[in-house]
Symmetry: D2
Subunit: 330 residues, 4 copies
C-alpha cells in the first residue's frame, strides 16, 4: 500500500567504493542477490539499471528474463557516460570527436535497452562533461555539442524519454549542466518532446537550489519533470544519504509540489550507504516518504496553497508543525 | 508550562535593517512596546539586553525598574563590541590600543549591568574582530590580545560569566574566534572559571558544525556551555530564521544533547524576522522547541543513547521517525 | 590610457551600512563630493546611478547638468526595486498586485532617466523577489509575473537595454533569478532584443559559477551580455571586495573571455569598502584589471585558445604563470 | 636550486580512482616506476609513503634499499587509518575496541617505519573517524579515545613527530578532528612534545579557514606546525588541485607566514591529478611555489609586516600587485 511508486538503483544492493577505499566498503554481490534483496523490500516496485554495469547487448535477453520473473519494473536505464576510463574527458561534450560519437551511440543503445525492458526512460547524466581548472574548456563549443548530441539522440526513438540529470560538480569540479536553469536551457535548445529533466534532490541541494522550486520550474516550462532521484545531504556535497535525515521540511515541501504539479512518475532513491545496510536505508527512505505524503494528504493541498499564496514566512510551516506534533501545541 | 526557560533579545520586537534597506524594514518601536510584546508571549520567561542599545550607566535604574515590573528576567547582557562605528576595526583585538582599552571597559561595564540586573551572564561576540582581506591581520598578535583582554575582564567580577559567542564571518569576512574549537582554545588559554562559550545554532551551522557536537564538546572540556542562541539558517549564512524551519533533525539532536549534558541555562531565540511579525516567529520557535523536547522526553534518553553508542547510521533516526509519525509506519 | 572603460556606482564614495552598524561605517557624503572623488580617479570614465537614491523625476535636470559638467558618463541606471521598505515582499514578482504595478512603473521611469542621461542601460536586480522559508512562494506564478513584467517594460523603450543582474541570495535567502541559467531562461521567455543579462562577478562566484563560463554562456545564447559588475569575494557570500584579491586566476580567465566574445560594454566595479577608502579600492581595482588585461594582450588570444581547446588541466595556466613571473622559471 | 624542500606522495605517480570510475583513471604503475618519475622531477627532494600501500614490516628493508639508491628522502609516513575496509567505522575513535587497538598499533608501526627510513614524522589523518548522520556518534566519548590513543602512541617513540592532519569531511560527512581549532585542542589535551599538527591547504580552505591564519595559530600555540600538504581547490571540497590555480593571493600569504614563523619542514604537494600527467602537475606546483617565494624574498618581510600591522584592507595586496606586474602600473 505504498503512497508512491518507489524504485532504487539495483546497484545500491552491491557494495560501494570511494577514492580511498578502492577495495570497496563491502564485498560485491551478484545480480541475482541484488534482485532478491530488492524484491524483499516492501513497497519497492521498481529498479534502475546502469548501462554496461547491469545491462548490455549481450545480456539483454537474460536480464529481461530474470527481472520479468519478479514483481519489479525497470524504471530507467542510466546511460553509462561516466563510469569508465574512456569518458574521463567527457561524453557528449568531450574534446575528442570519436568520444562524442561513442557517447551518442551509448545513449541510443540505452534507449533501445529501455524500450526492450519496458522502461520508457533513459537518464542522462553528464558527470564527466565539464572541467576542473580555469582556462580548460571552450564553453560555447561544449554547449553546441550538448545540444547537437541530445537532439540527435532524442530523434532516435521519440517513444523513449531522455531525462537530463543535472549536477553542479563531481566527478569534475565543474559540470557544464549543473543547475535547473541550465537544464531548461538545454531542453529548450533541443526542442524535442522527449527531452526533459529530472531532479536529484541532493544535486539540487548542492547547487543551493530548493528542490521544490526546481521541480516547479521544470513543470512550469513545458511539463518537463520526467524522473526523480531522492536522497539527502549536508548541502555542500552529494552525500547521497537517506531521505529526511537532514532537510526534512525542504523534503516535505518538495513532496507537496510533486502532488501540486501532478507528477506521475517514479520515486527512485539514489543513495550510497557505504557503511550501512542498503536494504535498511531504502526501507527507511520509503517510510519517511510515505509518512510525509500521508501528512500532506491529511492536511490537504488547499490549506497550504492559500498560506503560501499570501507569501508570509513561517505560516505554512505552522501547519506542518501542528501535523507533525498533534496534540502537543496549538 | 514551557519545557525550557525561553528568552529572546528585546530588540527582536523592534524593526530590522540591512545594507540595502537602511530606512529599516519596519518602524522602530519603543522600549516599553517591546517589553509589552515580550510579556504577551506565552512561555517567554526572559529577555536579553544589548549594551548601549538597551542599557547604559544613565538608564540602568530606569531599565531595572521597568523590567522588574514584568514577569521577565534579564537573561544576558550582550556587550556592544560591534554595533557602532568605533568598533569597525575590532574590539579586544583592534590594532589600535585605545580601542582595545575601550573594549575591555565595555565588557566590564556590561558585567556591572548584568550583575545589577540579576543576569549573571555577559555575551561576548567578537563580530568586528577579524579581517576581510589576505595580508590584513597579524594573527598571533590578535590572539595574544584576545587572551589578555578576556582574562583581565574575567577577573573584574568572577561572579559574572562571560559567554563567548563564536561566529565564522559577518560582519568581517573572517572572524578570529570562528569555531567551537577556537572558542575552547581561547577558554583554555584564559583559564578562568567564569570564561566559557555559547552556541548560536546558526553560527555553528554556518561553520559546517553540527550544533549537537559543538555543545557536547563545550561540555566535555570543562562544562563550558554557558548560554544558547537558537535559530536556523540555510547553512551558508547567518540567516537567523525560526528554529526547526530548515534543519529539523539536527535541531532535535541538539536538544537531545542539551538534556544529556544537563544544560540548565536559558534557551534564547536569536532571530531576525525582517519581514515577519517577530512575536509570531518567537511563538512558533517556542512551540517547535517545546514539541521537540516533548518528543525526546517521550522517547527517553536511554533508547537513543544505546542506538548512538552502536554508531549505526540511521538507526536512532528511525526512533525519531516513529515518534514524529506515530501509527503511520512500523 | 586605461585598457577598458571603467565605471563605479556613485554611491561607493558615500558610506556603507550593515545590519549591525545602522549608524553607518562612515559619515555620508554629498552628491557633489562623490562626483568630485569619482572625477579624481585616473582611468574612471563613468558612474552608475541608483534610482531614487541618486536620481528621480524631480532632480533629473540638475543631475544631468552636474554630471555633464564632468568628464564622466552615466553608465547605467540601477532601478530601485530593493532599497526601500515597500519592496520587502518583492517587486515584479511581489504577491501584491499594486506592488507589481509599482515595480513596472519604476523600471519604466528608470529607462526614461537612462535615456535622458545618455546611458542606454538599466540594471534590473530582483533582490527582494524570492523567499526566505520553505512553503513561502508559488514558484510558477512568480515566473509568470517576472516574464510578463519584463516583457512589458522592455516594450516601453526598445532603445534602452534591460540588463538582468542575477543573484542567488541576499537580501532574501533565495532569489528567484539566482543563476546564469535562470537568467537566460527569463531572457528567452521575454523574447525581446533589449532584454539581456549582466555578470556580477561576485554573484556568479557565490552561485558556484565560474564567471568566465557564465559570460560565455550569455554570449553564446544570443549575445546577451549587456553589462558587468566587477568585484571579488570569498565564494560563499557577496562580500563585494576589491577585484583580484581572492580569485585572481578566475578573474584573469574572465577577462580573457570578455576579449574573446568581443564584449564592448562598461567595466563597473561594484564594491562595498565598509572600512576602507573607496577611492583607494576603486583605483586598485582599476590597476589590477589593467594589469591583467595587459598580460593577456601580451600573451595573445591564440596561444590560450589552442591550449584550452585541447582541454588539458593546467596547460594554459602555465602560460599565465610564465607571464606573471617572467624570468623566474621556465 | 629550489627555494624550499619539496616532496610529494609516491602514490601520486600511480593512477587514481573515485566512486564512479572504480577501474581507475589510469593504469597503475609499479613502485620502481613511481620512484623513477619522482627522481626525474627537478626540485623534488623527497617522497611520502603511505603505510600498507607502500611500506609494511615485510617490505621495509627492500623499500629502504631502493629509496636509498636515489637522491630522495622519505619525508613522512602516512599511517593507514583510512584506506581499508576495516577502518570504515573509525580508527582511534572507532566504536569497536579491537579496531581502536589496531589503530594504535598501526600508528606505532608507522612510527617504527618512519624511524627506520629516516623520516622522523608520521602523518595521522582521522579520515574515517567521524559520523555521517545526526544521532550517530557519542562525541565526548570519541574525544576521550582520541586523546588517549594519541597520547599512548606519542609515548612509543618521542623521537618521531606525530603530525595531525585535520579535515572537516570526506570520507565521512563529518570528521571529529575537522579544524585547526580542534587540532590544537587535541594537541593540548595530549600534552606531548611530539604531537603537533600539519596544514593541508585544501583541508583548511574547505573549512573556510585561511591557511595562513591556521599556520600562524599552530605556531602561536607552542610551535606545533610539523608538516605541510600543499594543493588548491574550489573552497567547498578537497579537490586536491595544482597549487596557485584558484587561490593565488591566499597561497602567497600562506607562504609569507611560513617564512615569518620560520617553518623549516617539508613542502609536500598532495594532489590528485585524475586526468592529468602527475609529473606535470608536481612540476608546475614546484614552479608556482618557487616563483611566489622568490617574489616574497624580493619584497622583503618587513614591508609586508608593517602594512599588515596597520590592518588596512588591500594595502599589502598593493605590494603584491606591483611585484606581480612590475612596470605595468604604479
Amino acid at each position: 500500500m505504498a503512497r508512491a511508486p518507489y524504485s532504487a538503483p539495483l546497484g545500491v544492493f552491491s557494495g560501494f567504493y570511494d577514492r580511498y577505499v578502492t577495495e570497496g566498503y563491502q564485498d560485491p554481490t551478484s545480480f541475482d542477490q541484488q534482485l532478491r534483496t530488492a524484491e524483499g523490500i516492501a513497497g519497492l516496485a521498481g529498479v534502475e539499471l546502469v548501462g554496461r554495469s547491469n545491462v548490455d547487448d549481450a545480456n539483454l535477453p537474460e536480464v529481461k528474463r530474470r527481472i520479468s520473473a519478479t514483481r519489479l519494473k525497470v524504471t530507467t536505464i542510466i546511460a553509462d557516460l561516466w563510469a569508465h576510463r574512456h569518458w574521463q574527458h567527457g561524453s557528449l561534450a568531450a574534446p575528442d570527436g570519436r568520444t562524442r560519437a561513442l557517447a551518442r551511440d551509448e545513449i541510443r543503445r540505452s534507449m533501445d535497452w529501455a524500450a526492450e525492458l519496458g522502461s520508457g526512460t533513459v537518464s542522462v547524466w553528464f558527470g564527466q562533461d565539464g572541467y576542473d581548472y580555469v582556462f580548460q574548456a571552450d564553453y560555447g563549443r561544449a554547449w553546441t555539442w550538448l545540444v547537437e548530441g541530445m537532439s540527435e539522440c532524442a530523434a532516435h526513438n521519440p517513444g523513449v524519454k531522455l531525462a537530463i540529470e543535472y549536477k553542479i560538480k563531481e566527478p569534475r569540479t565543474h559540470c557544464f549542466v549543473g543547475t535547473v536553469g541550465k537544464t531548461l536551457l538545454l531542453i529548450q535548445a533541443c526542442a524535442k518532446a522527449n527531452v526533459g529533466g529530472m531532479i536529484d534532490v541532493g544535486h539540487a541541494l548542492a547547487a543551493y537550489e530548493n528542490p521544490a522550486e526546481s521541480a516547479a520550474l521544470l513543470d512550469h516550462f513545458g511539463k518537463r519533470l520526467f524522473y526523480l532521484h531522492l536522497n539527502d545531504n549536508w548541502r555542500l556535497w552529494d552525500d547521497d544519504m537517506m531521505v529526511g535525515s537532514v532537510h526534512l521540511p525542504e523534503y516535505i515541501e518538495f513532496l507537496y509540489w510533486l502532488r501540486r504539479i501532478r507528477y506521475a512518475g517514479w520515486y527512485a532513491f539514489d543513495v550510497y550507504p557505504y557503511r550501512e545496510d542498503p536494504a535498511f536505508i531504502i526501507e527507511e527512505s520509503i517510510r519517511w516518504t510515505d509518512s510525509c505524503i500521508a501528512l500532506l494528504d491529511d492536511l490537504g493541498e488547499d490549506k497550504i496553497r492559500s498560506a503560501l499564496e499570501r507569501g508570509t514566512g513561517g505560516e505554512a510551516l505552522r501547519l506542518i508543525r501542528r501535523a507533525l506534533f498533534p496534540g502537543r501545541a496549538e
